[in-house]
Structure formats: C-alpha cells, structure tokens
C-alpha cells in the first residue's frame, strides 16, 4: 500500500481518543500487576526474614544455656552413698515438719476438748 493510499483511509471520529484511553488503561493494568508482583515478592521476603529471626533467636537461646556442670563423683557407689545421705536429710527435715504438725494438732485437740467440756458443763447446769 502506498503512502498516498494510507493517507486516504478515513479515520473514524473519536478513534484517537479511544486508542489513547485504551493505552492508558493498559498502562494502569501494567502498573497494578507490577505492584502486585512487588507486593508478593515483599511478602516472601518477610517470611524469609521471619524464619531467619526465629532461627537466630533459637541459636541465641541455645548458646545462652548454662554449661553442663561436671559430675562431683566418678564412682557410682560414692554417688549412691551421697544420694542416700541426702534422702536421710530430706526425711529428717520432713519428720521435723510432721512433728510440728502433730504438736499443733495436739494443741488444737486440747483446745477443742476444753471448749467441749465448757459446753457440756453449761448444758448440765
């Protein structure tokens, strides 16, 4: 087609505006899609950052753990004897507590008996 023929083609009214609007809308769609792609990328990065922070926290916490102390005994028989003594000490301390509870119980019983005696005497009068 010659240039002359092309120039002779009749352009419908408003086509230019329509084309311009179409290009604008395509441009807008492209911007929206680009923004969406960027946002998706950012979300993925936030996941990565979150996971990295979690791992860093766990590692920090693990390294913060107090060191394992060294065993006091190397001979299990000695260790056994120590545990036995410890249990005896615990038992003694518990026994003291129980004795105190018994003494308190006896005092309460004595008090209750006195009140009962007074109550009975009053009723008999």
């Amino acid at each position: 087609m010659k240039e002359k023929d092309i120039n002779e083609i009749e352009i419908p009214n408003g086509l230019e505006e329509e084309m311009s609007d179409f290009i604008d809308s395509m441009d807008a769609a492209e911007s929206v899609m680009a923004e969406e792609r960027r946002r998706k990328g950012a979300v993925r990065w936030s996941y990565v950052a979150g996971a990295a922070a979690t791992v860093a926290l766990l590692v920090t916490f693990l390294f913060r753990q107090p060191a394992m102390p060294e065993d006091t005994f190397t001979d299990p028989h000695e260790a056994y004897a120590c545990v036995e003594q410890t249990l005896a000490a615990i038992s003694e301390k518990m026994g003291n507590g129980v004795q105190q509870a018994r003494r308190a119980g006896d005092k309460i019983d004595a008090g209750t008996a006195k009140i009962r005696e007074l109550y009975d005497n009053k009723n008999n009068d």
Binding site: L58, T72, F73, Y80, E84, T86, I90, N96, V98
Partner: protein, 166 residues
Amino acid sequence: MKQISILIVAMFMAVTAFAQEGKELYNKYSGKEGVSAVYISPTMFEMIKQIPDIELEGESLNIGELIKTFEGMYILNIENGELCSEVEKNVEELVGKGRYKLLMEAMDGGDRVHIYIVQDGDTVTDFLMLAGEAAQGQTDGTVAVISISARMAISELQKLLASAMQ
C-alpha cells in the same frame, strides 16, 4: 506464620527453661566462697541403677527403688550469710513463676524448711527443698538447696513421708 513462629519459639524456650532451673542455681553459686556443691548427672544415675539393691531389715522404704526414679540431683550448701539470703530470694522467684507447688513448710525458731514439687499427673518430676538454719549466737546461718529431677510416682514420695513420720 508469624504467630506460629512466635508460639514455637515460646514453647521451646519454656520447656528448656524449666529443665534449667536447678542447673542455673547450681552454676551461679557453686565454686563461690562458703558454698559446697554436689551434682549427680543423669549418666551417673544410670550407673547407680546398675548397683544391686541392698535391702535393710526393718526398713519400710526401699531407697534403691526410689533412687532408680531419679534423673539428676543438685545440692548446694551455703555458709555465707550474704549468699544465703540471695539464694533464698532466687528460690522464691523460681517458685513464684508458678510451676512448683508447696508440699510442706515448717518453721521452728530460726529454722525453716520449704519443700516444693512439680507434678505431672501421678508423677513427681521435680523436687525442691530449701532448708535454712539460723546459727546460734551469730547473724549468719546456713541454707541448703536440694533439687532433684525424677520420674517418681507420688506413692514413692508418700512412702518417704511415711518413713519420716516413724
């Protein structure tokens, strides 16, 4: 995702922190002046379990069976007035976290005993005893802390209590 991560980290920290309580106290005070410390590890308890039971006549409590439930033991005996009050405060803070429950409290003059346990159903998983004694004629006293990790049936602890009552 963020909430799940936070939850996982928090759970992990909580579980690990619970297992560290006795160890932290031990590490903090062992080696200091006026402090004698004993640690028996889970490995040593495994070796202790291999020792044949010695049954004593007239003993209602079979200590061997009880010891077999133990997984670790920390003992601190403090004869340093300043440290005594510090340790007692530390134990109070530890108990204040709410995991331990008071099993027994006894006060007699200046002497005091607090026994705490952590229970998982019918099993005692942690035993903590804080015993303080006032020194006669002195301001300084002594404090003993015994922390035991175990898988002890509550009935075994009841037996220990029963033997203490005899």
